[in-house]
Symmetry: C2
């Protein structure tokens, strides 16, 4: 039986999952793939931790460079994370003629254009299914299954930490801080949760699938990113009254000469399938001109779901190595000479529905003043709710708009921020009523 | 640029969709696949219908055999359907050394074991993504993405006609007959809907994915099949009162030395994602030991979604032809020598929860009589609802059971059928409370 040898760099949570699958599922994998896939080395700085795997003698090592340099290793699996040493190791591995599998969305979002180009020049495969959506085969679907589709749009819950926190706030009416603390306690949030809760991790993922879908270079810088740390139980309650749920969505829509790419808390209709994706689960809807709406759903993170995606890449590449079919599927889905530089549409040009929550004095004339300024900026209102009655102190004033332009909304809110009857910065949440899976 | 030539047999709805994609998306496909895929011939007995495609001169033909015999054609796409002539053409095409793509689940469920074996002997690829779940990449996911997973179970809504009808009954409280009439009027049901509404089409699909998931030969005969034609608005209303929705599910669970494979109307919790799949949409949840629950959702039928899946197969095989990598993925996912004959568990051995709706005389002692017989057969009750009060005529008596054995349920119901206080055959609906995506 043919043999493919794998070197694993980084034996943390997902790396350990990959090692587990390669060691414990060796027979299963070979019964499907018809070849032996061998974990030759796993490198990590920590050799002491019990990972619950019985490695053969000599497999575990601290010497990552020796693994990269091992001439018998065909595929390097990079599970270190981050954009520094991981990048260096990937480039080194390619220089040694090794194919690479990674789950590193931060790296690909930042340096993917160069890394994919380098892989192509070296005639090497680069697998990255696990970089977006954990176990969900979103990369394979975009690169293979949807080959005859123009992709119109994508809408995704791509960060389990945020979805867990928002589900918690929705269910328990806890604050963001309480929900985050619980997410940390349960292992759904990192000690420093910024990358997740402020939307950056989701942006990394959208940068990757946006490129794949539309045939453009990866462009992380221009993606609009807004996290969930300002969402309050009050907003979630109002959203429900209007028939919406709040999710942190990655939204991308193809325009004529650009594409929307934005990450922000979004109100979506309760009866929408993606509104019902709860806890740390992920989902992504892809709308193509042939398939219509298609959705994938599953664990977007975690040891074994992510490892499963990594191993599917390892097997795909192993098949390519054995048949000599490297580059079978182009790295970014389109042939390199067909990839354009399609710009991201500036967020100021967005047209959508908005939810505003003002914290306003309950005085005569306040409503007319606010709606007057909005009207002056071409923003017309669909619904208004004013709750509570207070002689002193502010009350929440909720407004839902018809279609409005983001630039106008920002100008109107700037103008309103000067008004003494409005306390605090108003809460703004964008609404997606259409173009979502029902 | 390399060229692959395709011959299409059957230009009905999906065949026309395939032709459309191959003609109108030629450039898009080539920008991704890096090769030219040419629709050389499309054969159909009807050349008169305007299919809305501008075929090049000579492409359309009535002579299917000439297409099969054309030495320049690499891939035959069989879109005729049925198990007679389609089978003959597929075998003929293989005899001429042509790779085959089909969406023909009836054929694969009935004769797949021989057809896959024949393809392997001839070193030919056979693509069939479109045979299950329309555009959803369930075949690719099972064959490639889940390569390191032991599949524990699958739960699917795999027939759009049934799901449309059940959604209609749920929303409008119409009868099955009314909902079926509407499905026909809207093109969601065939003139003869038996194959769909009686569950056979769903069984064909489960036969295929069951084989793929567990590494067994296809076994259609032993799948338990029950359709939706007996479901009444009354059952749907009672289901809702208990927090359930009724769906026609394909359910498959791996047991130690067998696997469950059954198609029947099923009550599933309302908060379950798959319970919220409405209209003609399809969804399938796969539970693997590494990925946990993963769900795919999309259009399970229709011209363009199905054609999109067909074309993804064409491109996959075209890639294999060009690289000489035929048989890259084994037809039934496992290497031929690893495929076992795992038996389907007899339905009599099923253990699940049950919903019974008796139509019973509202007389003293009836409830105790029925529950007594059930108790004698080891069936204990979780809830009982008796609705209405009638001096004459039957009233519905609803019972939900704890876990019970199908064989015992059938024996108990046989016994009860002799009782004069019970009119009609009771309605029995199986309940799936666990092991489903939440």
């Amino acid at each position: 039986m043919k043999k493919i040898q794998v070197g694993l760099l980084g034996c943390g949570t997902v790396g350990t999952g990959v090692a587990k699958l390669l060691v414990e599922k060796k027979e299963l994998i070979s019964s499907r793939a018809g070849m032996e896939i061998i974990l030759k080395h796993a490198a990590d700085i920590d050799l002491e931790t019990d990972r619950g795997i019985t490695f053969k003698k000599g497999v575990l090592t601290t010497d990552a460079r020796a693994v990269i340099n091992d001439p018998n290793i065909d595929i390097i699996v990079e599970m270190i994370g981050g954009t520094a040493i991981a990048r260096e190791f990937i480039i080194d591995a390619m220089n040694k003629g090794k194919h690479v599998v990674t789950a590193n969305k931060a790296l690909l979002a930042a340096h993917g254009n160069q890394i994919f180009k380098y892989a192509m020049q070296k005639n090497l495969d680069l697998g990255y299914e696990a970089s977006v959506g954990g176990c969900m085969p979103i990369i394979k679907s975009l690169r293979e299954s949807l080959v005859s589709n123009n992709i119109h749009s994508m809408t995704g819950i791509l960060n389990g930490t945020c979805n867990y926190i928002l589900s918690k706030i929705t269910q328990d009416h806890s604050t963001f801080e309480q929900a985050l603390a619980e997410a940390k306690a349960k292992g759904f949030a990192e000690a420093d949760p910024t990358l997740d809760v402020e939307g950056f991790d989701t942006a990394h993922k959208l940068a990757i699938i946006g490129a794949l879908a539309y045939g453009t270079t990866i462009n992380l810088e221009d993606i609009y990113v807004e996290g969930i740390s300002r969402i309050t139980p009050l907003d979630i309650t109002f959203a429900e009254q209007f028939g919406y749920r709040i999710k942190l969505l990655a939204i991308s829509k193809k325009k004529e000469n650009s594409f929307e790419a934005r990450i922000h808390p979004t109100m979506i209709p309760l009866n929408n399938l993606i509104a019902n994706v709860e806890g740390s689960l992920n989902a992504v809807t892809v709308t193509g001109d042939a398939v219509g709406d298609m959705m994938l759903y599953g664990h977007g993170a975690g040891m074994m779901p992510t490892a499963s995606a990594v191993v599917s890449d390892v097997v795909d590449i192993a098949r390519n190595i054995i048949s000599g079919d490297i580059g079978r599927i182009p790295g970014l889905s389109f042939q390199p000479d067909k990839i354009k530089s399609i710009p991201v549409m500036p967020i100021a040009d967005l047209e959508t529905h908005y939810y505003f929550r003002f914290s306003a004095q309950d005085r005569p004339g306040v409503l007319s003043k606010i709606s007057g300024v909005l009207g002056d900026h071409d923003i017309s209102l669909k619904s208004v709710i004013q709750k509570g009655r207070k002689a002193k102190g502010p009350v929440p004033l909720i407004m839902l708009t018809h279609l409005a332009r983001e630039a106008n909304v920002m100008k109107a809110l700037d103008k309103l921020s000067g008004f003494d009857v409005i306390s605090d910065r108003p809460m703004v949440i964008r609404i997606e009523d259409n173009n979502l899976t029902h």
